[in-house]
Amino acid sequence: MIEAKNLTKRFGDTLAVDTISFAVNKGGIVGLLGPNGAGKTTTMRILTCYLTADSGTATIAGKNVLTQSLEVRRCIGYLPENNPLYTEMGVVDYLKFIAQIRHIPRKKIKPQVKEMIEVCGLEPVLNKKIDELSKGFRQRVGLAQAMIHNPAVLIFDEPTVGLDPNQIVEIRELIKRLGAEKTVILSSHILPEVSATCKQIIIMNRGRIVASGTPEEMSSHARGGGVVTMVVRGPVEQIKDKLKTVKKVKNFTMQETEGDGQTRFEIISTGEENINEDLFRMVAENGWVLSELHQETLSLEDVFQQLTLKES
């Protein structure tokens, strides 16, 4: 549905987006994740035809953003960063204006605006001007604006910024429902948000894509595998020697020696399965005592920090 090839965008001396490529299939929610200044907004602006890439191409629903800009814009709903709105306008007037300019047939404008009001929960503020609205309601107006023409692709730039926790949950639910039939790209620097809503994650840093995949894939791929914590009672040096001989152990560190002769190890596996069994066998064969053994998968936070801090 969305395909970007080698997109590059430069602002003066800074390389905002550096030869990024990605593809998004129809249906599903994709999260664009990265610290501030990673190039998320620039990428989205290129996809929505607000900016033109210096080089590279992007297509949305098979249409080129450069040469078929109008067609692309027709099939996209876009919520820009900070959700800019015509604050002097009334809620209904604003949605009507968007519906008209989106060429929704005249007879359908009223029902469509009404539906958006219901879907986004705007009933309490119908007769107000936008500048009288709270941040949460403004966000809903922005979402209604993006969805009113029932677009195949929705692009949301930080849709939950500045909302309170309840509103965040509401918006997330809404986006999840949308993801059932539409292709949604959202950007965020809040990890739980992305892991809660997205099927596919693209992590960006300094204009480049540093990782992409499902949340689960990301966690297990980081550091090349899972981390196992093991606490054993036994002679430390011998344990160390034996650990080196276990095939599935890539690397390990001795964390601390606890009282009564127990030692805590942090073991990084090569990524193969069942490392726990091998470790257990090793301990049992040597007659040591195993008091703790568990495998940790990296949280998305760890992955994110590893990937983004490493480079900067």
């Binding site: 602006r45 929505t48 035809c49 607000y50 900016l51 033109t52 109008l70 067609e71 814009r73 027709r74 996209i76 876009y78 820009p80 960063e81 900070n82 800019p84 709105l85 015509y86 604050t87 002097e88 306008m89 007037d93 204006f97 968007i98 008209q100 300019i101 989106r102 060429h103 604006q145």
Partner: protein
């Protein structure tokens, strides 16, 4: 065409939804009427020559104040990102905004029709110059608006947009004036005299609709609107 009309309606609505529009109109009418009646009773002449003499100067303040926010505000709030990612062509937006601000200035101008009406009841009026004056004011207003709209797109700040638009309009207005022409080499005089906004306004005020004046104004407006659509494209680079 349809998009242009939708933008036009939206812009006009924003004008009249805010109190600023009414303050503008009242200020314009109060100011222009005062300038008219100030000399009216002293001179005792039934004509609007003085009124149209002041119009370019009133417009110099009034028109940039109308256009200053049209793009600068969209940029500041960020709504330009919503607007330009809608399926609209650049020129449709520019024309919509221009026509909305043009209508607004026309409405303000139309409300001053009480003046010729007053004259009509007072005595014998030569309507030729008056109609010519209004036609000239329309064209002059359009030219100022096109300049102001273009400048507003370059500036991020409304005050800056106002000042630069007023200065640019002023410069274009006076380059055809005799004071400026006197300082120029003879070979440049006809060109500058033709380019000046003021000369054409005076010419229309005589009550003669000269095609040269009309072509001048229409192409000047077209030129600045064209620059505006081009400068919209420049955000992408």
């Amino acid at each position: 065409m349809r998009n242009m009309l939708i933008i036009f309606r939206k812009e006009l609505r924003i004008f009249f939804d805010s109190p600023i529009a009414y303050i503008f109109i009242i200020a314009f009418l109060a100011f222009s009427n005062w300038l008219f009646f100030r000399s009216f009773f002293i001179v005792g002449q039934i004509s609007m020559r003085d009124y149209f003499f002041f119009i370019p100067w009133i417009f110099l303040v009034f028109v940039p104040a109308v256009t200053m926010r049209l793009w600068a505000e969209e940029k500041k709030i960020g709504t330009i990102e919503v607007l330009m990612t809608l399926p609209v062509r650049n020129y449709e937006v520019v024309l919509g905004k221009f026509l909305a601000s043009f209508s607004f200035v026309m409405i303000a101008l139309a409300l001053s029709f009480s003046l010729p009406l007053t004259l009509f009841f007072l005595g014998d009026v030569d309507f030729g110059p008056i109609i010519g004056g209004y036609v000239g004011a329309c064209f002059l207003g359009g030219a100022y608006l096109a300049i102001g709209l273009f400048v507003s797109n370059l500036a991020e700040n409304q005050i800056v947009a106002f000042i630069i638009a007023a200065l640019l309009s002023f410069a274009l207005f006076i380059i055809g004036e005799d004071i400026v022409l006197a300082t120029l080499p003879n070979s440049l005089v006809p060109t500058f005299s033709f380019l000046g906004l003021g000369k054409h306004f005076v010419s229309l005020q005589r009550g003669v609709l000269d095609s040269r004046d009309v072509i001048y104004y229409v192409s000047l407006i077209g030129f600045f609107l064209f620059l505006n659509t081009q400068s919209l494209e420049s955000r992408k680079w």
